[in-house]
Subunit: 81 residues, 2 copies
Protein backbone atom coordinates (compact mmCIF):
# COMPACT_ATOMS: atom_id res chain seq x y z
CA UNK A 1 0.00 0.00 0.00
CA UNK A 2 1.17 3.52 -0.82
CA UNK A 3 0.50 6.48 1.42
CA UNK A 4 0.44 9.70 -0.58
CA UNK A 5 0.26 13.14 1.02
CA UNK A 6 -1.64 15.84 -0.82
CA UNK A 7 -1.06 19.36 0.48
CA UNK A 8 -3.61 21.88 -0.75
CA UNK A 9 -2.94 25.59 -0.26
CA UNK A 10 -4.63 28.72 -1.53
CA UNK A 11 -2.71 30.27 -4.42
CA UNK A 12 -0.38 33.02 -3.17
CA UNK A 13 -2.49 35.76 -4.77
CA UNK A 14 -5.68 34.57 -3.04
CA UNK A 15 -6.64 36.26 0.21
CA UNK A 16 -6.45 33.85 3.18
CA UNK A 17 -8.73 35.01 6.01
CA UNK A 18 -8.09 31.84 8.06
CA UNK A 19 -4.36 32.44 7.97
CA UNK A 20 -4.84 36.08 8.87
CA UNK A 21 -7.00 35.16 11.83
CA UNK A 22 -4.29 32.79 13.07
CA UNK A 23 -1.66 35.50 12.57
CA UNK A 24 -3.68 38.00 14.64
CA UNK A 25 -4.26 35.44 17.37
CA UNK A 26 -0.57 34.54 17.49
CA UNK A 27 0.31 38.21 18.03
CA UNK A 28 -2.25 38.48 20.83
CA UNK A 29 -0.62 35.44 22.43
CA UNK A 30 2.80 37.11 22.35
CA UNK A 31 4.26 35.48 19.24
CA UNK A 32 5.29 38.82 17.76
CA UNK A 33 8.02 37.32 15.58
CA UNK A 34 5.49 35.38 13.52
CA UNK A 35 5.16 37.55 10.41
CA UNK A 36 2.89 35.50 8.19
CA UNK A 37 0.53 32.52 8.31
CA UNK A 38 -1.16 30.63 5.48
CA UNK A 39 -3.61 27.85 6.27
CA UNK A 40 -4.35 24.93 3.98
CA UNK A 41 -5.43 21.31 3.95
CA UNK A 42 -3.48 18.10 4.17
CA UNK A 43 -4.83 14.76 2.96
CA UNK A 44 -3.27 11.38 3.68
CA UNK A 45 -4.39 8.91 1.00
CA UNK A 46 -3.91 5.16 1.24
CA UNK A 47 -3.77 3.69 -2.25
CA UNK A 48 -3.64 0.00 -3.12
CA UNK A 49 -0.41 -1.08 -4.75
CA UNK A 50 3.23 -0.05 -4.58
CA UNK A 51 4.45 3.46 -3.73
CA UNK A 52 5.40 4.35 -7.29
CA UNK A 53 4.50 6.52 -10.23
CA UNK A 54 1.07 4.92 -10.68
CA UNK A 55 0.02 5.78 -7.15
CA UNK A 56 1.25 9.35 -7.55
CA UNK A 57 -0.60 9.72 -10.84
CA UNK A 58 -3.79 8.43 -9.25
CA UNK A 59 -3.42 10.83 -6.33
CA UNK A 60 -2.86 13.70 -8.75
CA UNK A 61 -6.08 12.85 -10.60
CA UNK A 62 -7.98 12.73 -7.32
CA UNK A 63 -6.49 16.04 -6.22
CA UNK A 64 -7.55 17.69 -9.48
CA UNK A 65 -11.05 16.24 -9.43
CA UNK A 66 -11.93 16.36 -5.77
CA UNK A 67 -9.41 17.68 -3.25
CA UNK A 68 -8.40 21.04 -4.69
CA UNK A 69 -10.30 23.83 -6.38
CA UNK A 70 -8.00 24.72 -9.29
CA UNK A 71 -9.44 28.23 -9.53
CA UNK A 72 -8.09 29.28 -6.15
CA UNK A 73 -5.90 26.44 -4.85
CA UNK A 74 -2.70 24.64 -5.75
CA UNK A 75 -1.52 21.27 -4.48
CA UNK A 76 1.64 19.23 -4.08
CA UNK A 77 2.14 15.49 -3.76
CA UNK A 78 4.63 13.44 -1.80
CA UNK A 79 4.97 9.99 -0.29
CA UNK A 80 4.60 9.72 3.47
CA UNK A 81 7.93 9.20 5.23
CA UNK B 1 13.17 34.50 7.76
CA UNK B 2 12.27 30.90 8.53
CA UNK B 3 9.26 29.19 7.01
CA UNK B 4 8.03 26.41 9.26
CA UNK B 5 5.33 23.94 8.21
CA UNK B 6 2.99 22.67 10.92
CA UNK B 7 0.91 19.65 9.91
CA UNK B 8 -2.01 18.98 12.23
CA UNK B 9 -3.86 15.66 11.96
CA UNK B 10 -6.49 13.99 14.09
CA UNK B 11 -5.00 11.30 16.29
CA UNK B 12 -5.33 7.87 14.66
CA UNK B 13 -7.92 6.72 17.19
CA UNK B 14 -10.17 9.74 16.54
CA UNK B 15 -13.00 9.31 14.05
CA UNK B 16 -12.45 11.48 10.94
CA UNK B 17 -15.78 12.24 9.23
CA UNK B 18 -14.17 14.62 6.73
CA UNK B 19 -11.75 11.97 5.59
CA UNK B 20 -14.54 9.42 5.34
CA UNK B 21 -16.62 11.77 3.21
CA UNK B 22 -13.67 12.23 0.86
CA UNK B 23 -13.15 8.46 0.74
CA UNK B 24 -16.79 7.86 -0.21
CA UNK B 25 -16.66 10.58 -2.85
CA UNK B 26 -13.47 9.15 -4.32
CA UNK B 27 -15.16 5.77 -4.70
CA UNK B 28 -18.16 7.36 -6.41
CA UNK B 29 -15.74 9.04 -8.82
CA UNK B 30 -14.19 5.67 -9.72
CA UNK B 31 -11.10 5.78 -7.50
CA UNK B 32 -11.78 2.32 -6.10
CA UNK B 33 -8.14 1.69 -5.19
CA UNK B 34 -8.15 4.48 -2.61
CA UNK B 35 -8.60 2.57 0.65
CA UNK B 36 -8.29 5.29 3.26
CA UNK B 37 -8.32 9.07 3.62
CA UNK B 38 -7.47 11.27 6.60
CA UNK B 39 -7.91 15.02 6.39
CA UNK B 40 -5.96 17.52 8.43
CA UNK B 41 -4.63 21.06 8.39
CA UNK B 42 -1.39 22.53 7.16
CA UNK B 43 -0.02 25.84 8.36
CA UNK B 44 2.85 27.73 6.77
CA UNK B 45 4.40 30.06 9.36
CA UNK B 46 6.86 32.81 8.54
CA UNK B 47 9.03 33.49 11.57
CA UNK B 48 11.59 36.27 11.91
CA UNK B 49 15.15 35.05 12.20
CA UNK B 50 17.17 32.12 10.87
CA UNK B 51 15.72 28.69 10.08
CA UNK B 52 17.13 26.98 13.17
CA UNK B 53 16.20 25.44 16.49
CA UNK B 54 14.78 28.70 17.90
CA UNK B 55 12.29 29.04 15.05
CA UNK B 56 11.24 25.40 15.43
CA UNK B 57 10.80 25.80 19.18
CA UNK B 58 8.65 28.90 18.65
CA UNK B 59 6.52 27.08 16.09
CA UNK B 60 6.09 24.17 18.47
CA UNK B 61 4.86 26.52 21.21
CA UNK B 62 2.40 28.12 18.81
CA UNK B 63 1.17 24.72 17.65
CA UNK B 64 0.56 23.63 21.23
CA UNK B 65 -1.18 26.85 22.24
CA UNK B 66 -3.16 27.70 19.13
CA UNK B 67 -2.96 25.46 16.07
CA UNK B 68 -3.69 22.00 17.46
CA UNK B 69 -6.13 20.67 20.01
CA UNK B 70 -3.98 18.26 22.04
CA UNK B 71 -6.99 16.25 23.15
CA UNK B 72 -7.78 15.03 19.65
CA UNK B 73 -4.96 16.18 17.37
CA UNK B 74 -1.24 15.65 16.89
CA UNK B 75 1.16 17.82 14.90
CA UNK B 76 4.52 17.64 13.21
CA UNK B 77 6.98 20.39 12.31
CA UNK B 78 9.32 20.83 9.39
CA UNK B 79 11.07 23.56 7.46
CA UNK B 80 9.65 24.42 4.05
CA UNK B 81 11.80 23.10 1.21
Amino acid sequence: MARVIVDVMLKPEIHDPQGEAVLSASHRLGFGNVTGVRQGKRFELDIDGPAGEAALARAEELARELLANPVIEEFSLSFAE
